[in-house]
């Protein structure tokens, strides 16, 4: 446990320091959402109808923005070698790194959601439901994205490959995230059904992600 908490604390610390990824994600999220009303126009009804989708898209892209560096940075400076050799199973180390990434880069997005909801003319209930669905859904984005991040190390390709690999996996999360938010705001579906599926997606990815990422990293040893 000491080893895992040390890894989580280190990654969060790096993300929060100058040049770390945490702030970049939030700023990107902010930029996308702030620009949207300018593009859509001053139709308040339209904005509030598009609001949940815009917030979800912004959060999705923002959380993927820094994810490709999840293992790449450790690979480049040799840390990944030592992590692979260590007494901590690689699967657990991968899970710890993803958790740290979510805490440093995913959680701030959810905290920022109420503020950005104001810009999109969302009321309290709508903003709350979007924030709740983001809280339930963003772990799925991080933990499936982690597989792409591991493959990016294995295949020595960053950036674009990661997006191509990970975006299809994140489609279900996006669908049910937005569906649950819309259900809470306009109905007629119940909030519970899509929200449960969203939670299930997160739980499944929590289990599969670390194993898939570790398998990819082990396979790509060189």
């Amino acid at each position: 446990m000491t080893a895992l908490s040390a890894l989580i604390r280190r990654d969060i610390r790096i993300a929060l320091r100058v040049g770390g990824g945490a702030l970049i994600g939030v700023l990107f999220f902010l930029t996308v959402v702030v620009l949207m009303p300018f593009a859509v126009g001053p139709d308040l009804a339209l904005l509030s109808r598009l609001g949940p989708a815009i917030l979800w898209l912004g959060a999705l892209l923002a959380s993927l923005l820094t994810l490709d560096r999840l293992f790449m940075a450790d690979h480049e400076d040799g840390s990944l070698d030592l992590i692979t050799m260590s007494r901590t199973p690689l699967e657990l180390a991968c899970a710890a790194k993803a958790l740290a990434h979510w805490l440093a880069a995913g959680l701030p997005l959810i905290v920022a959601t109420p503020v950005l909801g104001l810009l999109l003319n969302l009321d309290m209930v709508a903003t709350g439901s979007v924030a709740l669905t983001l809280l339930a859904g963003t772990p799925a984005l991080t933990f499936t994205g982690m597989i792409g991040a591991a493959l990016a190390v294995t295949l020595h390709r960053g950036g674009l490959l990661m997006a191509v690999l990970v975006l299809p996996l994140s489609i279900p999360v996006l669908i049910f995230g937005v569906a649950a938010s819309q259900a809470a705001i306009v109905g007629p579906m119940t909030f519970g059904a899509p929200f449960s599926i969203l939670c299930a997606l997160s739980l499944v990815s929590l289990v599969i992600g670390p194993f898939a990422a570790a398998a990819s990293l082990k396979h790509g040893l060189d």
Partner: protein, 200 residues
């Protein structure tokens, strides 16, 4: 404790780097792996560290901790220093001590031994190449592992640093550890030579 390799074959990128390599090293013994560039010195160290899979042959450690695998009992000091520029010198060291686990020693003392105690709070981004290498050496001292795998360990070290490091290696061998070092420069300690890939 006895580290031995039998008929080890290494293939990188479809090309056979070396084959049928036998080697042995016992407690208190240092082996200097020598050979021309590209002969597979680094590959051999990475094979022992479990970071490469041998295409054939076996590598085993007898007499070590039976609960642990060979890589878990090794320190690997590669070309890359495994340091995070955003973290301070002390934070880098204590992270590895916490993460690697096992028997550990005072991080402050290790920093003093390698001559970095004055820079403990400095972000690692501001360290020189030699200082980065010294900080990596502090990791070997803070966390104890019986097998040291060193890849060009004296690179970037000044003369005083090389003397300091020779002393550290002698202490490690005296404690019953063993060292496999890939090197072009003399290690400054008594060592057996393992030549791979023909004449240099």
């Amino acid at each position: 404790m006895q580290l031995s390799g039998r008929g080890v074959i290494c293939v990188r990128g479809g090309r056979e780097v070396f084959s049928g390599l036998d080697f042995e090293a016992g407690s208190g013994e240092a082996v200097a792996v020598v050979g021309r560039n590209g002969s597979g010195k680094t590959s051999l160290l990475r094979l022992i560290a479990g970071l490469l899979i041998p295409a054939g042959g076996t590598i085993a450690l007898d007499g070590g901790d039976t609960e642990l695998t060979l890589p878990e009992q090794c320190h690997y000091l590669g070309h890359r220093d495994a340091l995070k520029p955003a973290l301070s010198v002390a934070e880098n060291l204590t992270f590895w001590a916490d993460f690697l686990g096992g028997e550990r020693f005072e991080a402050g003392e290790s920093l003093a031994t390698v001559g970095l105690d004055h820079a403990a709070d400095l972000p690692a981004a501001f360290l020189s190449a030699g200082q980065r290498r010294r900080l990596s050496l502090a990791r070997l001292l803070t966390v104890r592992r019986p097998v040291w795998l060193l890849d060009e360990p004296t690179n970037a070290l000044d003369v005083a640093g090389q003397d300091m490091f020779s002393g550290l290696m002698r202490e490690h061998l005296a404690r019953g550890g063993l060292i496999i070092a890939a090197t072009h420069a003399p290690l400054g300690i008594d060592s057996r030579e393992l030549r791979i890939g023909g004449m240099a």
